[in-house]
């Protein structure tokens, strides 16, 4: 023990000479070592709960592995990927997911912006306005989805009666519209919350100056507020797009994936949990993982989205 410390202090003496590296005192180094030791369990657990399952799914996706036929397990290379990518059910699910993601996120962005502006500007009862806006986000999704389902069921639901008593959830397009509506209702407050944080970054002086220069309300919104809010908008869009792409709970309760309304997550669940086909199911999970990674990559590299706190621009 004492030997290693002397060796290390010797190294520290040497390190002083070039004077380029940051020199740490013995106490500092001990502190840093302790820091690493304290971090290690957390880092290890993170690896165990995130990296390992990902690696294991990739491994499973290269196997023919169906719990129903345990004796037929074998390595099949990329066969599962060929099967999934040539399946009409998969592509239908991909299109359903993409359409739902794009439509719901666009509507959420517009409504969320409006809500954020309202919440930002209210002078009276600010607390009440903000709280009531956030209520849908506070309700458990499955519970909310069940109330939507009953509301749309002819015979028991007021919305179904309002629409003439047609069973809307039994046809593809109307069912998708209902799912999107439930999604929008549920997550618009989240979007509004993120956007409101962005609105707080817009200095009032700038708006006053623009008004003094004769900019109309719309011009102030598009030329001053929006550019300044861009980082916040992009972060909100990124979060929501990633979330929407993995939609499951609303769909599971509302349609259960019938009438071709399965999303990719729903299809994966059906193959993995219901069908017990670990190979095909894992292949789908890996494909979803890749899709999510691509979406994140596009947002970060192409649009320059930055995670909150990671950019220096925020520290004005």
């Amino acid at each position: 023990m004492s030997q290693t410390t002397t060796e290390k202090s010797g190294a520290a003496v040497k390190a002083v000479e070039p004077k380029k590296k940051v020199v740490l005192s013995e106490g500092k180094r001990a502190e840093r070592k302790l820091g690493w030791l304290l971090c290690a369990p957390a880092a290890f657990i993170m690896l165990a709960v995130t990296a390992w399952p990902i690696i294991y799914s990739v491994y499973l996706s290269l196997q023919r592995y169906d719990l129903k036929f345990p004796d037929r397990q074998e390595f099949v290379g990329l066969d599962n990927y060929v099967t999934v990518l040539s399946s009409p059910y998969w592509w239908n699910a991909v299109w359903v997911t993409v359409v739902m993601t794009v439509v719901s996120v666009v509507i959420e962005l517009v409504l969320g912006m409006a809500l954020a502006l309202i919440m930002h500007r209210t002078l009276v009862g600010r607390g009440i306005v903000r709280t009531s806006t956030l209520i849908p986000y506070g309700i458990v999704t499955v519970v909310a989805a069940f109330s939507w389902r009953y509301a749309w069921t002819p015979g028991t639901g007021y919305l179904a009666e309002l629409m003439g008593g047609d069973p809307v959830l039994t046809e593809k397009i109307p069912a998708l519209a209902v799912v999107i509506l439930a999604e929008v209702w549920k997550t618009t407050p989240f979007m509004a919350l993120l956007l409101m944080a962005g609105l707080a970054l817009v200095p009032d002086d700038l708006l006053k100056a623009a008004a003094l220069d004769g900019a109309s309300g719309w011009q102030r919104f598009t030329k001053v507020i929006l550019p300044l809010m861009k980082p916040a908008i992009l972060v909100a869009l990124l979060f929501r797009t990633l979330d929407a792409f993995r939609i499951f709970d609303n769909l599971f309760v509302l349609t259960g994936g019938s009438q071709g309304t399965s999303s990719v997550s729903m299809l994966t669940y059906n193959n993995l949990i219901k069908g017990l086909n670990l190979g095909i199911g894992s292949t789908m999970s890996v494909l979803i993982f890749i899709a999510v990674a691509i979406i994140a990559f596009i947002f970060i590299k192409l649009f320059g989205t930055a995670a909150p706190g990671s950019d220096d621009g925020g520290k004005r």
Binding site: K68, T83, Y89, P167, T170, L267, N271, L276, N277
Partner: protein, 425 residues
């Protein structure tokens, strides 16, 4: 220094509380598992919610005389939820499940996966003794017995006695009769299950078997979909496109059909016997509600799809002998009679039908027994879940069936499902 000391001291009890809580959480399931009366072995039975089942369990526990203690765990109400929970725990080799109540269609899957024990020796002969053949078939896979039939079920033809003097023998006759009724301005619709779900598979399986056809081969490894299966598709299409089919047929499950019949819209209905008890409150309706064996497709008799529940013993149980004994008690003639009278589920032991107490709650028992003797089993394959999903997806909606083309599509997608190659919709 004192500060540190103080904070250190103040923290200690908190740690202790946390540790105690943690220990309690870890120990709780263990305590529950062993918490039964006076240290007897606990047999955990997993079954769907059945009203009088706890009484049957209690009776068996008192008969066991302290040798084991059965605990009834209620599974979700829906079949998918039941299967999912059991399968997930079996895949993890959970030793705390002993006896499982399985839908008749799950036997092959769980047997092939090696998750349920085979009934051999005296257990096997005890189960086979006096039990009806078709329910026994549902509990067998590759010539071995994996389950003990608890209750069974078959659909009957229900009709309005005031409108129809003699029940039809075939589908063609039934459609004709309904058309005549409709022409005369009387309620002439026919009710059935055409929604995209297991009920549609049950209907199609009945039609195929009645037409002498096959969906899969005997071993459940090859998709056949022969002429009989095409004939069944023709019948289904003819029915679904006739003007006496209920307009919401393509979205109707059992209860939708029952409610339409009770509302007086229809003259005929194909449904399970529960509709009789369910409609008992409506005196005018029940007075005219008559039953007959299911209509046939051709000239031969009908071969109705059998439903029901079998008990299986988990491969991972730590109390194998006691579990088998518990099964024997839970499905004994006495237990089956109790369940039949109180919960309305048809027994699988033939002698129970002759019991005089059965006559009142089961006026249709002779029709059930007669139907059971010629009943048919759904395809027996470990991939049944996939097979069923493929069939209901392809046949839905029944009105757009194109017999020959639909049969070809069925054959190729079923083969993929059997080879666990395809993607489940």
């Amino acid at each position: 220094m004192r500060d540190v000391d103080r904070s250190g001291r103040s923290r200690k009890p908190r740690h202790r509380i946390a540790a105690a809580l943690g220990a309690a959480i870890v120990a709780a399931p263990v305590l529950v598992a062993c918490g039964s009366s006076d240290g007897a072995i606990t047999i955990n039975v997993y079954k769907y919610p059945q009203e009088s089942f706890q009484k049957i369990v209690d009776q068996c526990n008192s008969k066991a005389g302290g040798r084991y203690d059965i605990v009834y765990h209620k599974l979700p109400r829906e079949a998918d939820g039941q299967r999912e929970q059991m399968v997930r725990r079996l895949a993890a080799e959970d030793t705390s499940m002993d006896v499982l109540a399985l839908d008749v269609t799950w036997t092959a899957e769980l047997a092939k996966a090696g998750w349920i024990k085979e009934f051999t020796g005296s257990a096997k002969s005890e189960v086979e003794d006096g039990t009806l053949q078709t329910p026994l078939d549902t509990a067998s896979y590759e010539g071995k017995l994996y389950g003990a039939p608890d209750n069974t079920n078959v659909q009957l033809l229900w009709y309005r006695g005031d409108l129809v003097p003699t029940p039809p023998k075939t589908w063609d006759e039934m459609i004709q009769m309904a058309e005549t009724l409709k022409k005369d301005g009387k309620p002439g619709l026919i009710e059935g299950q055409g929604k995209q779900y297991e009920g549609l598979v049950v209907l199609y399986n009945t039609l195929v078997n009645s037409a002498g056809g096959k969906i899969l081969d005997e071993n459940g490894t090859k998709a056949i979909v022969d002429d009989g299966a095409v004939k069944a598709l023709e019948t289904l299409k003819k029915f679904a496109t006739s003007d006496v089919v209920d307009p919401s047929f393509s979205n109707a499950a059992e209860d939708d059909a029952r409610l339409a019949m009770e509302a007086g819209k229809a003259a005929f209905m194909l449904n399970w016997p529960y509709v009789y008890a369910a409609g008992a409150k409506n005196a005018d309706y029940i007075k005219n509600l008559k039953w007959a064996p299911y209509p046939s497709v051709g000239s031969g008799g009908s071969k109705v799809t059998v439903g029901g529940i079998n008990y299986a013993v988990s491969s991972f149980t730590e109390h194998s002998d006691e579990s088998f004994d518990a099964v024997m008690c839970l499905r004994s003639a006495e237990s089956q009679k109790y369940a039949a009278i109180n919960d309305g589920v048809p027994p699988t032991i033939e002698s129970v039908y002759d019991d005089p107490e059965m006559a009142k709650p089961y006026p249709m028992k002779d029709a059930i027994l007669e139907t059971l003797k010629t009943a048919s089993v759904r395809p027996r394959t470990p991939a049944y879940q996939n097979v069923s999903t493929v069939i209901s997806t392809i046949l839905s909606p029944p009105a757009s069936i194109d017999p020959q083309a639909t049969a070809d599509r069925l054959r190729s997608e079923l083969q993929d499902a059997l080879d666990s190659k395809g993607v489940l919709p």
